[in-house]
């Protein structure tokens, strides 16, 4: 419900919001998240607390807006951002630099831990190298993969100074996003509507598989993989369309779902409850795609509100629910779609979901936290 959303105007346009991952045995809902800004003269990485748990009301609703714990200046627009572990965040910059920031929780400060200057760059025809925007980053501690406008793929290790592997000119168009498919394989999407699988064990500098949108090659902006069923992949395009792919078969998406009226900037399966999917867009909307509606029994934790919420494993996931994403016409019978932000006008650039909590950030310089997503 919208009443559970707390908002804060932060005087900077937000390009990324990320929950800090929870420790393995955590029983509390997430509280700490990071944001990155873009298009400011002075861009920042900021760490926030979503709100004091002590302020929880009788019904478990939360009051109070997010408050800033610490922040640090960042050179260039924050293009993407990912927590490496509880303390470290990897940030992709429009300058082509990739930085690991460390959040010191004892004294609430941020510092730059390691920096790969111009990990992405153009080889200018006449002059020296110019940085190229690093558009996407994904981590699987200690491995970090980055992609950029230069069509390059870099594989770093958090503990190594130089790149472990670089694929120059991996893509002739702009790579917009990257995610891990398996530990040794990654997925990339590009500006000519292609989804590619790269096997990092292979020495050849070519994708092991190319998938492509039919018809107009609408650029793809974001990609996420189903957390349990690794062959199910969701991508979002420039036309706001959500595509679901089954990478075991065919070279085209299994379903195309009309969604937003402009660029879809991010798509995320709920990490522990993947019959829920979230997308946000330049058109200022944020959609909740729910394929669980027909299932009589929801995973138990969804019914518990407030502080007693525990995050059970995803053992309750029903096989038939998962396949809902792959049914030929998912909209018709099984999917419930809700726009979580009516009347918003400026772009929602980023969202992140963890447990019952959603955080998102906009070009209207506000961050929003919804702590009772399934209430």
């Amino acid at each position: 419900a919208m009443e559970d959303v707390s908002a804060k105007f932060v005087s900077q346009k937000i390009s990324r919001t990320r929950w800090r991952p929870l420790p393995a045995a955590a029983l509390q809902p997430p509280d700490i998240f990071a944001t990155g800004s873009w298009d400011n003269e002075d861009n920042r990485i900021s760490i926030w607390s979503a709100g004091d748990l002590g302020n929880a009301g009788l019904n478990g609703e939360y009051h109070g807006e997010p408050h800033l714990l610490c922040d640090i200046q960042h050179n260039g627009d924050v293009m993407d951002m990912q927590f490496l572990d509880q303390e470290r965040i990897v940030v992709a910059s429009s300058t082509g630099t990739v930085t690991i920031f460390r959040h010191h929780q004892n004294n609430q400060t941020l510092s730059a831990d390691h920096r790969w200057e111009k990990a992405h760059y153009h080889v200018d025809q006449d002059t020296s190298c110019g940085g190229a925007a690093c558009t996407g980053v994904v981590c699987n501690n200690p491995e970090i993969v980055t992609v950029g406008e230069d069509g390059r793929i870099n594989l770093f290790r958090a503990d190594q100074k130089d790149a472990v592997r670089t694929i120059d000119n991996a893509d002739s168009s702009t790579l917009h996003a990257v995610t891990f498919l398996r530990t040794t394989e990654i997925l990339t999407v590009n500006s000519i509507g292609q989804l590619k699988i790269w096997d990092l064990r292979q020495q050849k500098n070519e994708p092991s598989q190319i998938f492509s949108l039919a018809g107009d090659r609408v650029p793809l902006h974001c990609v996420d993989r189903h957390p349990n069923q690794q062959h199910i992949v969701a991508t979002g395009g420039q036309d706001g369309m959500l595509s679901i792919w089954d990478i075991r078969q065919g070279t085209m998406p299994v379903s195309l779902l009309n969604a937003h009226e402009a660029e879809m900037w991010e798509v995320h399966f709920h990490p522990s409850d993947p019959d829920h999917l979230f997308t946000c867009s330049e058109d200022g909307s944020l959609w909740h795609w729910d394929t669980s509606t027909n299932v009589s029994e929801k995973p138990s934790f969804l019914h518990q509100g407030g502080r007693s919420t525990a995050y059970l494993s995803h053992s309750t996931i029903n096989q038939s629910v998962v396949s809902a994403w792959l049914s030929s016409d998912p909209t018709k019978d099984r999917m419930e779609i809700t726009n979580l932000i009516p009347n918003q006008t400026l772009s929602v650039n980023s969202l992140d979901v963890l447990g019952p909590c959603l955080v998102y950030g906009t070009d209207a310089e506000a961050i929003y936290v919804n702590r009772q997503l399934f209430a």
Partner: protein
């Protein structure tokens, strides 16, 4: 001409002549190499051409003041060289905390534009009042943030800046609130007074600390400021609170119990206007008259003579101007005096009578000791229902366009600004919105907000947007996509083309042919797609292999954008077929590329050369008919080429032609034999 000249800090017109150029958001001022001798003497450097068109006298100051002090960059060269100053129009745009105001009010503004008049009468008015309240609560929130910032900073300069902003925001809210009562809600006689009382209570907070101090003391009635606080409550019409305090004093003085009781009774019985329609104004006036006479009686028979405090309160209840004016310090402002005066002498004041009481209250309160300040003039104009005067004065005094733009828009939605068309074509609402949005566009980050404001300026919004959007630096593809989306949604084809072209050129310069192509596909820019295709083909001719196969192999329908792109795609297809040893299909495609004139003539020689290995295959691939066509292509090329000379000079080319002719002849011989044999068998 009474406005002092305004000069950009750092630029000295007495030493050098300055020249300047107006941009949509900034003024460039530069020092020329001319000395002063012989130059014209210009003292007032900056007169905004826009406001003076409309405001006339007095506004020049506003425009110039908004400009000065916001020099954002100076290029300083050697001592002899000139400097360029970039002067921005709306300096408040750069205050970090105010960004909250701009962003949050943008949402309210958009809601108001969407809410068009589907509701009628009362509910529409309620809706507009709610919008007005929303704007005010944003101002208040921003004020609190600014106050926090002022308290928490240690830098005295910054603290001063924040404090100034707090007082500006507080003045804005005061003015807005009054406009809300008088114009948006248009409160009528009766409720009008109640609203004005609320307004005074909300904004006169100088006495709040005193009230708190007395109320929290151990025994308030013993406090030396006790009677002051009682007076404050009476002056603000807070009768219940005043009576509560008095009852404490009464219980401490059993001797004068009767006197307290009488005063308490008078205060309790005071008739007040009601918000509902439960009583008519005439009823109220009758009751009022009766009560007034009762107060008068008690005063005259000396009931309160033994206690000067209570006597003075009774005089206040009677609306005695001198008695009220004695409490000047407790009211702090003339408009508090006005409202108190109205409460106790004219509770059923009509909106149109306000101007007389306002003027005389100000005169009485200031008593010729001090002259009215700009804020006083604005409030006075509001009491006089001179809406245009309010907006004009605010434009002069306030350092940003936010306030006047949003207030004017709201008043316009209340249908209060009758088509006050200005002679340059747009109305006042639009003029102010254009100014405000232009300011937003001059800001590094806030430009996105400006777009929606331009959208709601029917006359010039589009033109302004077109001018401004082209100046947004396209630092990343992501940003370019956002700007592009804005243009596409508004069918700004010219700008769409230009953005895509800029991005395609950038990509081309960085050797990113794939990206370049996708940008020209987005703009459906056939000419540029052709240019890029030529680059691909040139690369191929030089290197003998294709780059960016992932792109060329997946052109899809976008291949049809330009003939050259079609050729590139088809030519690559030929190579694929050849690589897959599907020779007959490859041969057919190759021939079609020439006979259907898909291939540019300049590329025919390459294509014919590509045919060579097919002609040399063990198996016969080209049919007789196809071979004839190939020969015709070759002859067309050599004969029809105006640069025939070139072929003869170029040994390599000549050899190539000879080799081709030979291969074609041999193929023809083989195919005749083969086809003959097949026919025979």
């Amino acid at each position: 001409d009474t406005v002092p000249p305004q000069v950009v800090p750092g630029a000295d017109p007495s030493a050098r002549q300055l020249c300047f150029a107006w941009g949509p958001a900034e003024v460039l001022v530069c020092e020329t190499l001319f000395g002063r001798a012989g130059g014209f003497r210009s003292r007032c450097l900056f007169r905004s051409p826009c406001p003076s068109r409309f405001w006339g006298e007095g506004t020049v100051g506003a425009a110039a003041r908004a400009l000065t002090g916001s020099v954002t960059g100076t290029g300083d060269g050697a001592s002899g060289s000139s400097r360029v100053f970039v002067v921005r129009r709306d300096q408040d745009i750069y205050i970090q905390t105010l960004r909250k105001l701009f962003n949050e009010s943008h949402g309210i503004f958009m809601g108001l534009q969407r809410s068009e008049e589907e509701l009628a009468g009362k509910s529409r008015k309620a809706q507009l009042v709610q919008v007005s309240k929303n704007y005010r609560s944003v101002i208040r929130a921003c004020m609190e943030d600014m106050h926090q910032a002022a308290v928490s900073t240690r830098d005295p300069a910054l603290q001063g800046q924040y404090s100034t902003q707090v007082s500006i925001l507080s003045a804005m809210e005061l003015i807005w609130n009054l406009c809300e009562i008088l114009f948006v809600e248009a409160a009528t006689a009766g409720p009008l007074l109640l609203r004005l009382l609320d307004w005074v209570r909300l904004h006169v907070c100088d006495v709040d600390s005193m009230v708190r101090e007395v109320l929290s003391s151990e025994s308030p009635s013993k406090h030396k400021l006790f009677w002051n606080v009682v007076d404050v409550f009476v002056l603000q019409g807070r009768m219940d609170e005043a009576r509560h305090l008095l009852s404490k004093e009464a219980s401490a003085n059993p001797a004068s119990m009767n006197m307290y009781k009488i005063l308490d009774d008078l205060m309790k019985k005071m008739p007040v206007p009601s918000l509902g329609n439960t009583q008519t104004l005439t009823e109220l006036e009758l009751k009022w008259q009766h009560w007034h006479e009762e107060c008068q009686r008690y005063l005259q028979d000396g009931t309160f003579a033994s206690n000067p405090h209570m006597e003075s309160i009774c005089k206040i209840l009677l609306g005695d101007e001198d008695a009220i004016l004695e409490k000047k310090e407790l009211m702090t402002t003339w408009y508090h005096f006005l409202v108190t005066r109205l409460l106790y002498s004219h509770p059923t004041v009509k909106p149109m009578e306000l101007r007389f009481y306002a003027q005389s209250s100000m005169d009485l309160f200031l008593g010729g000791e001090s002259s009215p300040e700009p804020l006083d003039m604005i409030l006075m104009a509001a009491f006089e229902f001179e809406m245009h005067q309010v907006i004009k004065e605010c434009s002069i005094v306030l350092s940003n366009w936010w306030f006047v733009a949003h207030l004017t828009d709201l008043l316009d939605h209340c249908k209060l600004l009758q088509s006050h068309n200005l002679y340059f074509g747009s109305n006042m609402r639009e003029f102010l919105l254009l100014e405000y949005a232009s300011g937003l566009f001059s800001h590094h980050s806030l430009w996105q907000l400006g777009v929606d404001y331009f959208d709601h300026c029917p006359e010039y919004g589009r033109v302004y947007l077109e001018l401004h959007i082209e100046r947004i630096p396209l630092s990343t593809e992501q940003k370019a996509l956002k700007v592009l989306r804005i243009c596409e949604q508004r069918q700004m084809h010219e700008q769409v083309r230009s953005i895509c072209k800029i991005m395609a050129m950038k990509a081309l310069r960085n050797n990113r042919l794939g990206s370049a192509l996708s940008w020209s596909i987005r703009a459906k820019d056939a000419a540029f797609a052709t240019l890029i295709s030529d680059r691909f083909l040139k690369d191929y001719c030089e290197r003998g292999c294709f780059s960016d196969l992932d792109l060329i192999d997946n052109l899809g329908p976008s291949m049809l954008l330009s003939d050259r792109l079609t050729f590139l795609g088809k030519y690559r297809e030929f190579h694929r077929l050849y690589g897959e040893k599907r020779f007959p299909e490859a041969a057919r495609l190759l021939l079609t590329l020439m006979t259907a004139h898909i291939a540019p003539c300049s590329f025919w020689m390459t294509l014919l050369t590509d045919a060579l290995p097919l002609l040399e295959q063990k198996e016969v691939i080209f049919s007789a008919e196809q071979t004839y066509e190939l020969m015709r292509c070759l002859e067309d090329l050599t004969a029809g080429n105006p640069d025939k000379q070139k072929f003869q000079d170029d040994d390599v080319e000549t050899t190539k032609v000879e080799m081709l002719r030979l291969a074609l002849a041999r193929n023809l011989a083989r195919v005749i034999v083969k086809e003959g044999t097949m026919e025979g068998s």
